[in-house]
Amino acid sequence: MNYIGAGPLVSLVATAFLAVVLFAAFGFGRSLIGMFEWPVAVWHRGETAVASVGLGLAMLSMGIFLLAVGGVFNKPTASLLILSGVFLALFWLKRVEAPRVQETLGEAPQIFWAAAVAVFSLAWLQALAPATAMDALAYHLYLPKEFLRLGRMEFLPLTRESLWPFNTEMLFMLGMLFQGTALAQLFHWVFFPLTALAVYFFTLRVYGVMPAAWAMIFFIFTPVVFAQSGAPYVDLSLAFFVFMAVSTFLMSEKVAGVKPYILSGLFCGAAVGSKYLGLGPFLILLFFILIRSRLNLRKTSYFLLSCGVVGSTWYWRSWWVAGNPFFPFFHTIFNRGYYVDIDAGVSMGGGPAAFLLFPWNVSLYPNAFGGQMLGALFLLLLPAALPLARRSRPVSRYLAAFGFLYVAFIFTQSQHVRFLVAAAPFLSIGATAGFLYARSRGGIFKAAAVATVAALLFIHAGIFLYRVKNIWPVAAGRIDAETWLKENERSYKGYDYIRRHAAPEEKFLNAAEVRYFYAPEDRRITHLFQENVRLRAQTIPIVRYLESEKFDGIWVTDLSDPEILQFIRSHRYELVFSYEAREKPDTFRNFIYKKSS
């Protein structure tokens, strides 16, 4: 199975299937919320729906995980799972009165909704192109594909990521089981509107309609958020669950007892089950809960318990299988795993001075932080919110403190711009405060704020259009997915050459790519970057390995290990195929050699 496909029919089927799964997720989530009589009265109607769908998706992920670990994840069992959610959703729809759209969305001016729908649609189009994102092809999609091929979720010792928390990847696996990468990518895209709506409804309830509309717009118009929504990564699902965990925790302002803490724990569990970086927000939230509840052990225990039920499964599994709950990280503590440099090539330094300059640097020098753009809205508007700090409400202080601590956490861990996606909802609410304060002051302050914000939104809209320009031909079906991939994805041509020109018994070494997703399953390809785990552990020199394996073909780039390039030159390999792949701003030169007969 190659799971590749694009075009109007693929888009239509993927979107229809997504709608069914979201409906089922609503059924699961709403049942959980309803079963415990959670205080939906405090929530806005739309917030209840968003929370239900989000919680339901997390429950669905857990269900898929259990099926996949048990080796029984297939179309019949997955259909049964989804159908049971659909029945629950139908049950709940009968019980609650049908909401009117106007009532559900609130009174925000229609121009805001029009802008939001336009950006969501562009992002949707972006998500329907065949997958090209680096980490998606290296593991977010590749590993679910491997699990489907093996018929079971297993520890793959030569991969770094097969024991990582994979809540969102379970949805990708569902997408690939029923269709392909288009549906898998839509499962990440959906967290874009979900998070935007979560920000809108929360801000609507707490601050009012205009702050809600602006906070949503600032979040939606953040370039890195838009870019992420088109790739099957997990940063947006993490952002959603983190924001929901904090917003439900803040319900404790209105609702007495343990319920907000349980709900917050459930969402926080989904966050730590999405990505190791979810552990940071978990610790920050735990700290907040201890402060707010005045060291109330009962409330804290409920938070920890519900968080553990949803999120800890992945860590138990990793500990059980590999003896390290965070495999392969923290290897010095657990004596299992190995060093992984997640900060490689990213950051402009650590320490207090670099931290003070971080907001400026990360906004204005994106190339030093992974290449994606945070935009300038936050840098521009957040300082303007500072005069409001002294008379701010506790809820605002918690939001600001969480945003600050999360950014500090990312600064200390790995300074990728995309890791700040989970901070974007908090930064957007803060930026809104600054913007509305500027407008209320009038004069030059208001003029500068309105002019620069309008210009930035306009520029970002242009960037979004530019990003999808290249995708339109394949989404519309004018170009088929394979032709498009050859032009737009750097590994595809190499794998395609091997698929077409190598005999099934020939052994190929891929010393060029960490992107494995498009590797043909019916050819014998060994991936060097996976083999390296074994070679390093057994201290086998690369030349000895190449001599013993006697590969019929070797695929390299001009950046491959010089020892391999030297081996090729001295062992009668001849160049049979070469190509250049351009992914702005870099160019990759690929060479495939075969042994001379």
Binding site: S363, M373, L381, P387, R441, F445, A448, A455
Partner: protein
């Protein structure tokens, strides 16, 4: 509304950040450098 120097400072900050963003990010992006 009472005049405040801080309002002027914020306005200047916004304009500075905007143009810095334009020259350091947007134009290089249009040239394919980012």
């Amino acid at each position: 509304m009472k005049f405040k120097w801080s309002d002027v400072c914020f306005a200047v900050w916004m304009v500075v950040v905007f143009f810095a963003y334009l020259f350091l990010v947007v134009f290089p992006k249009l040239q394919g450098k980012i």
